[in-house]
Amino acid sequence: MQPTARRWTRVALAGPGAIVTAVVMMAGMTQWLPSGTAGIDNLVLPLVLLPILWAALFFHACLDRRLGRVAIVAGGLLLVHAGLLAYAFTAGHPTAVKEKGR
């Protein structure tokens, strides 16, 4: 890849890529984090961790020399969490949790 293309790919991964991945991770984490003793950890921890998730993805995209690895890590996290969300919606999990919440 040309240096200019590499630079812009890195900018895309550190900028919009990190934002989208962090937000999707926050949503997806509600599906796999344990709910804890009060039954809320899976809801509250992703909210608390959002800035840290974003910062970790941003600095990884900036500092990892291997651009492919940055893309694999960010893309993998994005796909796994988006997949969890898609599964939850198709299996009707949000409604089930809603009933439990009420």
């Binding site: 926050m26 039954g39 899976n42 921890l45 992703p46 909210l47 809603k98």
Partner: protein
């Protein structure tokens, strides 16, 4: 010692510089107002001349609250917020939760204000925005908080903007840490005899390094608060509750117990408040009753952290009888990792976990952050001075914001003191700030040089600080003996702080002028 390869160090230096230069001026505005807002309560007391010290929750308002509940339309008895307003009056807001035309959750109902003798001195239909918005009494402190929280940009954009600024600060803090090759050496390196540029870089490094953990904590907690309601809650509600925000709130903040809609007397509030003050060691800062007038009504009191603690305390009571139910985590019905983490975000951000002492430390570190941002911007400009002379406008902008903003805030305080007796402070405080800012911007654009303008701004700020305590007294504020007799030392302390800071700044400017016979020595060398 941090070992980052040269290429990565260079990249981090660029990230550090650009994160500051692109958002630094707005970030500076947020940090300056945030630093002042650490003492928002004290500034509110000082500016409004409040001398009452007994909490409204320590007074027996229970019977009146019960009567007001009976006369309020039943649809607004879904919840009641109780809080102090004015000079320790009690605000009582009966309301229900609704979704407005834009799809936002709001509270709508009837607001009452009770004075110290439990007389209803104000009664009006209201929404939560109106109830918790600025009043003539708190217009100044409310303005400071509003500027810090959302820079007066309408929701949700204001919160998103300050959230992005928080992330920029996070980036600047972490990249600042990574580019320090000799972190511990840098903490103590201050080469006074070196060239001005080097000396000023040392000062930026020392202040930045010492306040690095604080910058990280502030940036993290600040962006958490900004994104919590705007991005976090809707997305988590979508993911876990199919978009039902009320269901999410009920799960996270709801109280335990089975619904019981039978009517019941609400005579337990006084007993509950007395018990809460005894258990927590301090009066509540806020209280809420849910299902007012029903057998399952619950009263929750919210208190600052107890001595030696970090997380705020909340206590749960039966509203009907005042019987204590449990110590309740702020979030969730039982203690949990997520609940505790979310609960300590507030004291970590506001520094209110150990009274005036922690607030003082937070104020000092906030001031250091302002210095770091300001000097960082100046350094960035000086490094590019030779290659880009067209940056004069940016140099002036840094002076206008860096030194002009604090002066505009001081002018705003003066405007508040002048307009509060006329009952027009809510209008004039933001208007005064805008007018003062415009005047300072225009003056900055036409002044002979940025350095000369900086010197003038320091002198004017010093004089404004000296004038404020006098203006407060002239406009009817309580004198020192009245304040001290009423056990309200905050007023005297803030007067003294203003006189000392103003006197020092004025002496620095005028003293330097008299000593050297010229006025261009003191304040801002290009690299400062």
């Amino acid at each position: 010692m941090i070992n980052l390869a040269q290429r990565e160090t260079k990249l981090m230096v660029a990230v550090h510089g650009w994160s500051g230069i692109l958002l630094g001026l707005l970030l500076y505005a947020v940090v300056v107002t945030g630093t002042a807002a650490v003492f928002a309560d004290e500034i509110g007391t000082w500016s409004a001349g409040h001398v009452a010290t007994q909490s409204a929750f320590a007074r027996p308002h229970g019977k009146v609250i019960e009567r007001l509940g009976a006369q309020t339309p039943s649809k607004y008895r879904e919840a009641v917020d109780l809080f102090e307003t004015g000079d320790h009056d009690l605000g009582v807001f009966f309301h229900r939760h609704e979704t407005d035309a834009a799809g936002n959750l709001i509270s709508r109902g009837v607001f009452y204000r009770l004075d110290e003798a439990s007389r209803v001195v104000e009664q009006r239909p209201a929404t939560n925005e109106e109830v918790f918005g600025a009043t003539n009494d708190n217009a100044l402190s409310s303005f400071l908080v509003e500027t810090h929280v959302r820079l007066h940009v309408p929701n949700p954009w204001g919160l998103l903007l300050t959230g992005i600024l928080g992330l920029a600060m996070l980036v600047a803090a972490v990249s600042g840490l990574l580019i320090h090759r000799h972190l511990f050496k840098d903490i103590f390196t201050l080469r006074r005899a070196a060239k001005p540029v080097l000396f000023n870089r040392d000062r930026h490094n020392v202040a930045g390094t010492w306040s690095l953990p604080f910058a990280f904590v502030l940036a993290f907690t600040g962006s958490f608060f900004s994104f919590y309601g705007t991005v976090g809650i809707p997305i988590v509600a979508m993911a876990a509750f199919g978009g039902d925000v009320e269901a999410l709130n009920e799960t996270v903040y709801g109280n335990p117990g089975k619904p019981d809609a039978r009517p019941a007397a609400m005579s337990g509030t006084d007993r509950a408040f007395a018990d809460a003050i005894r258990r927590a060691g301090d009066a509540p800062t806020f209280a809420a009753i849910e299902n007012f007038g029903r057998a399952d009504a619950k009263l929750t009191t919210y208190h600052p952290p107890s001595e030696g603690g970090l997380a705020p305390i909340s206590l749960l009571y039966e509203a009907g009888t005042g019987a204590f139910v449990q110590v309740k985590p702020l979030i969730g019905q039982r203690p949990s990792t997520g609940g505790t983490l979310a609960a300590i975000m507030s004291p970590l951000h506001f520094g209110n976990f150990a009274g005036v002492l922690s607030k003082g430390v937070w104020f000092g570190l906030g001031f250091a952050m302002c210095y770091v941002i300001y000097t960082g911007l100046r350094l960035w400009l000086v490094r590019r001075e030779a290659e880009a002379r067209s940056l004069d406008w940016l140099s002036r902008s840094v002076v206008v914001v860096g030194l002009g903003l604090p002066l505009a805030l001081l002018v705003t305080a003066a405007v508040f003191l002048l307009t509060k007796p006329l009952d027009t402070a809510v209008y004039w405080v933001p208007t005064g700030f805008v007018l003062a800012s415009l005047a300072l911007i225009v003056a900055g654009a036409v002044w002979s040089s940025a350095a000369a303008y900086a010197r003038a701004l320091v002198l004017w700020s010093g004089l404004a600080m000296l004038a404020l305590p006098i203006l407060r007294l002239v406009t009817g504020g309580p004198g020192w003996s009245t304040a001290l007799t009423a056990s309200q030392p905050v007023i005297v302390a803030l007067d003294c702080a203003l006189l000392l800071a103003g006197g020092w700044m004025t002496w620095q400017r005028l003293g330097s002028h008299l000593r050297s016979g010229r006025s261009d020595r003191l304040v801002l060398e290009p690299a400062e």
